[in-house]
Amino acid sequence: MVVIVGASIVPINRYYESSAEDLAFEAYKGLTGELKDRPKADVVVISSTYAELSTNSVNLANKIASYLGHQGSAVMRVEAGESGGPAVYTAFSLIKSGIADSVLLIGVEKMADQHGKTIQEYTARGLNYKDYLAGIMPVHYAALMMKKYMEVYKVDYDYFVNWPVKMHSYAVENPMAMLKFKVTPQQVKDSSVISEPIRLYDTGARGDGAAVVLLTSEEVARKYSDDLAKLQSVKGSSSDLEVSTSAMAVRDLALKLGDSVRDYYVQVHDSYSVAAAIQLEDLGLLPRGRSLTELDSVEVNLEGGLKARGYPGGATAVYQLAEIYLQLTQKFKGRTTSKEKALMISTDDLMTVAYGAKVIRE
């Protein structure tokens, strides 16, 4: 059994005074304050997508592990497609297989040292090289997906406005959120056009962040804490990039995850409003073409999502796992779920890589 024994996050923001190591330390300090014993880690798994580009350095895993005093641990950085999902998968597998008794999972990303244009440059490198050379950005693909969705389901822009309005209403209650303010439908509709029909409020809010989660085997869990959650399963899938109203990787992930997601508190990766709609529909949680008008019927992204809690690149999935642990152990300070089971979905910007993790209150 894989147990989450503690988790801590720093608010997503612009930290001009802090390096990736400093942010990881802030989150780590929060974790150690909650535990009965000083965390020992057989393995330190780091999730960071843009480390080489944004920090101008390599070997981030050992730098962070060493900064946090974890000399002697096996260290590694794991990434695929800016979600952090693969690092969760790795941490889970290490314990489930018996290779490790404890894994310190750290997500960290520095997005705010650079100009917004430079961040667009980094994220465009996730596309195939030919598209990248042509000047194409992920938001162009997202805009084409949104247009196709509008055509297929005969919905207009107002339909998508529901997502940012809902996410911001949750973020107001979350002290760790990056954008803690409400927005009105009119404000969303008046926000600047990035690539029509996508406006500013349809996109995730990128920022710096760090989150840590300590995972252990059942044998050592109670040494650290009595507030436990069980990481029941982690699955993953991948696909080609397609302009579609559905994402093959997410559909395949839903099959691998099995049973109905209706009983779960769900977090999706809302890099764009249309991505949220596609994931909610591909998971079978809400009906196709109507998901964003039925948001009141489900508990989704109560922390405010990428849209308003913030979008710290490769650290995002570790935030999700940490928040879900805090939700299920009733330590989350914000809008809380009534459910005892949670499912986090982690994808890249355009949903070509998808991971899902199920967590249950112990």
């Binding site: 950005m137 805009a143 600047s192 056009v193």
Partner: protein, 133 residues
Amino acid sequence: MKIFPPQIWRLKEELYSIVFGKCEDCGEIMYPYRPVCRKCGSMRVIKVKSKGYGTLIRYTISYQHREGYEKLSPMIVGSVLLDEGIEIAAPISADPEEVRKGMRLQAALRKYYVDSSNGLIVYGIKFRPADQD
């Protein structure tokens, strides 16, 4: 962005034409080309060059651009249904005023990017309004 000349040289076929893969065993069509079939795993995937004509089925006009792409702003990116029956996403070289759904397009070689550090110019395919026949 810094361009490494060998990376552009290797990519010449894909930059200067539209190449897709066709599996000779199961018929699967793949864009961009890759040597192994995603459906049946066969390595008998042949390269097929599109004739470069198609129809614009949807597009986005973008008001943000990356560093070095200022001259392209506003940029148009479209879903193009090639006459061969394949849908691809590609940059559209047209005036935002004249672009419309359903318009006929043809592939043309256009400037993509100039690397100011070494003067290297990258050319590639964009779609422009097709000549009337």
